[in-house]
């Protein structure tokens, strides 16, 4: 079994870990959202990668074409990207409102305001 075909999964999992680490560790609310976006997008990479078959073509009916790549993962991820953009914009809007109310977007300073 050749492991070279799994290299895209390794890259995607490294990106997922990086995004999750930014979400957990960064005190800045906007940087947290950036990490969340990286996390989501690299999860979509894992979803999209199995859709490609080497030698596979677009799914059109043609007597000369025998192997087809499934177009379904790409369509699904297009929807998921739209959902991710909606979540990201709502999170940024919340960050703007938090900045108006608390005067800062640093999480550690906000917890000082509460006490």
């Amino acid at each position: 079994m050749s492991y070279i075909g799994l290299i895209n999964y390794v890259a995607a999992i490294l990106l997922i870990t990086a995004g999750l680490y930014i979400v957990l560790s960064s005190p800045n609310l906007v940087k947290k959202l950036v990490g969340l976006s990286i996390f989501q997008t690299s999860a979509y990479l894992i979803f999209v990668a199995p859709g490609k078959i080497f030698g596979g073509t677009v799914p059109v009916l043609d007597p000369n074409l025998m192997t087809y790549s499934s177009p379904l993962p790409h369509v699904l991820i297009l929807t998921a990207i739209v959902v991710g953009v909606a979540t990201l914009s709502l999170g940024l809007a919340l960050a703007v409102r938090i900045n108006e109310s608390f005067g800062t977007i640093a999480e550690d300073k906000i917890s000082d305001v509460n006490e």
Binding site: L20, V23, L29, K32, L36, F39, Q40, A43, Y44, I46, F47, P50, L72, P73, L76, T79, A80, V83, A86, T87, L90, G91, L94, A95, R97, I98, S101, F102, I110, N114
Partner: protein, 217 residues
């Protein structure tokens, strides 16, 4: 009368009314629209339950594409009862809570509540009615976005922080859900719940191997 389209009404009708509420902005008119949408959803799910006496399952293929290929909405006894429970609860909530909404929100911002509530309800009804794993993910995200807005509408300014934290955690959870859907799709080649279940190997592994993790013999 053709009753095939009944399973899709509780999910689609509130989804169509929600942007209308955002455009109208009048508190009383938005309330009337929301109550009407919730009443129709409630009645539809009740009528669906009545239809289940004659057939085991009400199924609606979206766009005319049948089940394993296209997206299917299906109502059986389990999710029919759940759908009726949720829609009747939502109907009662819109009727009864509207009186005390003025203590929680300024009158000029009531339409935000109605829009977010309709989006949340559409998401929940869609999760229950759909038979497609990816469609379930999309509806989970719709209902989550609605609840983030509902939480952020609170009077206390800490509501914004709570909503932000919920957004982070909820999005991480939904992303892991879509990862799981992707793995199931790679293993079975299908997104339909029943189609995934008909793959005996996957079902065996899910039930017995997961069971043996929980109860090691």
């Amino acid at each position: 009368m053709n009753t095939d389209f009944l399973p899709i009404i509780p999910a689609v009708l509130p989804l169509a009314i929600a942007p209308l509420c955002l455009l109208i902005k009048n508190s009383l008119f938005c309330w009337a629209l929301t109550v009407a949408a919730m009443f129709i959803s409630c009645m539809t799910s009740f009528f669906t339950l009545g239809q289940l006496g004659t057939q085991d399952e009400l199924s609606y293929p979206l766009g005319g594409w049948d089940a394993p290929v296209g997206i299917e909405y299906s109502i059986d006894y389990l999710n029919g009862v759940l759908l009726f429970f949720i829609s009747s609860f939502g109907f009662l909530l819109t009727v009864l809570y509207s009186g005390s909404l003025k203590w929680d929100l300024k009158g000029s911002r009531h339409y935000f509540f109605y829009t977010a509530f309709l989006l949340t309800f559409a998401g929940l009804a869609g999760v229950i009615a759909t038979a497609d794993a990816f469609n379930a993910f999309v509806f989970i995200e719709i209902s989550s976005l609605g609840t983030y807005i509902l939480i952020a509408l609170g009077k206390d300014k800490r509501a914004l922080l709570a909503s932000y934290k919920y957004l982070i955690v909820g999005t991480i959870g939904a992303t892991f859900f879509v990862l799981g859907v992707g793995i199931l799709f790679v293993l079975t080649g299908s997104l339909n719940f029943l189609d995934i279940l008909s793959n005996k190997l996957i079902t065996f592994n899910l039930i017995f191997k997961f069971g043996s993790i929980l109860h090691p013999s």
